[in-house]
């Protein structure tokens, strides 16, 4: 399967990680790939390495094209270990003194990951490096999504090596967008929602910067998943849309439950929301992974959150998803809280506090039911749902 010649003299020598299912707390049912790109010119460059543990496969792929010892330089677009974990061993194999080009923050951060001496060469936005017939141009992309992140642009071939930007956690036999079609978009959306959402404003600035620099892009090569070559504009447009946090007439009802009471409330609230013509899905936290929930949060107008009160607190799974969501900074949302309780019933108030911290427009007061909901309580939940649905309708 690998290496794949993606353009004349340019190869994807990266690896598929078919078996990973939990990528630092992000669910990856289709695995992922760690892409790395080899450019054969007067000087031979390797753009990014792979996660530790995959180095033998990387070298196997490189060896199909060229003797790895002939690699002259490395470009490290991103310090994170899935792209640099094998860097020190790669240098040991190809020559310890060979240069590793990285951003200024990359120089600092690689030094904090690898204690052995590397020949790190910091580059700045707009700086060029000639490989002979081809030229690399570097573009710092701080906080998209780490301080060290950068893109590398190959102007002769109009290829943007975009590090984690435009990536997707997807391992497959397909390597290009034209081979997989729109089936890749949910993976790209999930990646954005879980990795990049909080940097949405920087992403908009970055796209403007790329436009200002006048970079023509025929192909985008991210470090995860498939390469965009049929229509790179499609993923750029999607990024702009997601960065604007455009919402649909859609709600999700997140909840956990101990004895089904909060579950009953969730389903009645969802019915009420649906009655207002809003697309709604109840999401039980023990069924849905936090990263799949965030994908749905991205374009939902309302996030309705339910928790039983356990020991005067939120149920722990709610603290998990609310902490995770808060960090990713979703914007333009309506929020509401509900839950069943036995005696003290603090959960609804605690959820409302969290939603307020996230600047959600709160439909309050939230709904509390003492122990098991009766028909009249379920009617109240339904009406609460309609009220939420109505607010979504007005905002859409």
């Amino acid at each position: 399967m690998k290496p794949i010649e993606i353009a004349k003299g340019i190869y994807d020598v990266g690896v598929n990680d078919w078996n990973i299912s939990d990528f630092h707390g992000y669910s990856t049912p289709y695995g992922t790939s760690y892409n790395a790109f080899l450019i054969i010119d007067d000087k031979i460059a390797l753009i990014d390495t792979v996660k530790a543990g995959f180095i033998d496969e990387l070298f196997y792929n490189i060896s199909k094209v060229v003797d790895p010892k002939k690699i002259d330089l490395i470009v490290s677009n991103h310090t994170e270990m899935d792209h640099s974990g094998s860097l020190a061993r790669v240098m040991h194999r190809i020559g310890q003194d060979k240069p590793v080009y990285c951003s200024t923050m990359g120089e600092k951060n690689l030094g904090l990951h690898f204690r052995q001496k590397l020949n790190l060469q910091a580059v700045k936005t707009g700086q060029e490096l000639s490989l002979g017939k081809r030229t690399l141009t570097f573009l710092e992309t701080r906080m998209v999504h780490w301080p060290d992140s950068m893109f590398t642009y190959l102007k002769e071939d109009k290829i943007l090596f975009s590090s984690d930007g435009f990536g997707q956690h997807y391992a497959g036999c397909e390597k290009f967008d034209d081979q997989i079609g729109d089936a890749i978009m949910p993976h790209a959306k999930k990646y954005f929602a879980n990795i990049l959402l909080l940097y949405a404003s920087l992403i908009k600035k970055l796209v403007q910067k790329v436009t200002e620099l006048g970079l023509k892009i025929d192909m985008i090569c991210p470090d995860h998943g498939i390469i965009w070559r049929r229509d790179p504009g499609k993923i750029i447009d999607a990024y702009l849309r997601w960065s604007d946090q455009e919402t649909k007439k859609k709600a999700i009802v997140l909840y956990d439950t101990m004895w089904h009471s909060t579950e009953m409330m969730a389903n009645s609230i969802a019915s009420g929301i649906s009655a207002e013509g809003v697309d709604v899905r109840p999401m039980y936290l023990r069924k849905w992974h936090r990263s799949d929930i965030m994908t749905e949060v991205l374009d939902a107008k309302a996030v309705v959150v339910g928790s039983p009160t356990l020991n005067n607190n939120l149920f722990p799974s709610l603290a998990d998803i609310l902490t995770y969501m808060k960090g990713l900074k979703p914007k333009n949302k309506i929020g509401a809280a509900f839950g069943s309780y036995g005696w003290s019933g603090e959960a609804v108030k605690l959820i409302e506090q969290e939603l307020t911290t996230m600047n959600f427009e709160l439909i309050s007061p939230g709904l509390k039911v003492h122990y098991v909901p009766g028909d009249e309580h379920l009617d109240a939940c339904y009406d609460f749902g309609r009220k939420i649905g109505e607010a979504i309708g007005k905002a859409s």
């Binding site: 923050m105 710092e140 701080r142 906080m143 301080p147 909080l198 940097y199 404003s201 920087l202």
Partner: protein
């Protein structure tokens, strides 16, 4: 003198320490930083900072 926090990455600008690597001597108020000064960690502009 007030400290300011970067809403993008969480870096805190402490005027007592300044940002000497980028031309802001210790004692420089946040308000007195040049308009083109950016967060030394993430590159966000001054408009992305809030009073701590």
């Amino acid at each position: 003198m007030d400290s300011y926090v970067c809403t993008v990455c969480g870096y805190v600008y402490d005027p007592a320490q300044g940002d000497p690597d980028n031309g802001a001597a210790p004692g420089t108020k946040f308000e007195d930083l040049p308009d083109d000064w950016v967060c030394p960690v993430c590159g966000a502009g001054k408009e992305d900072f809030e009073k701590e």
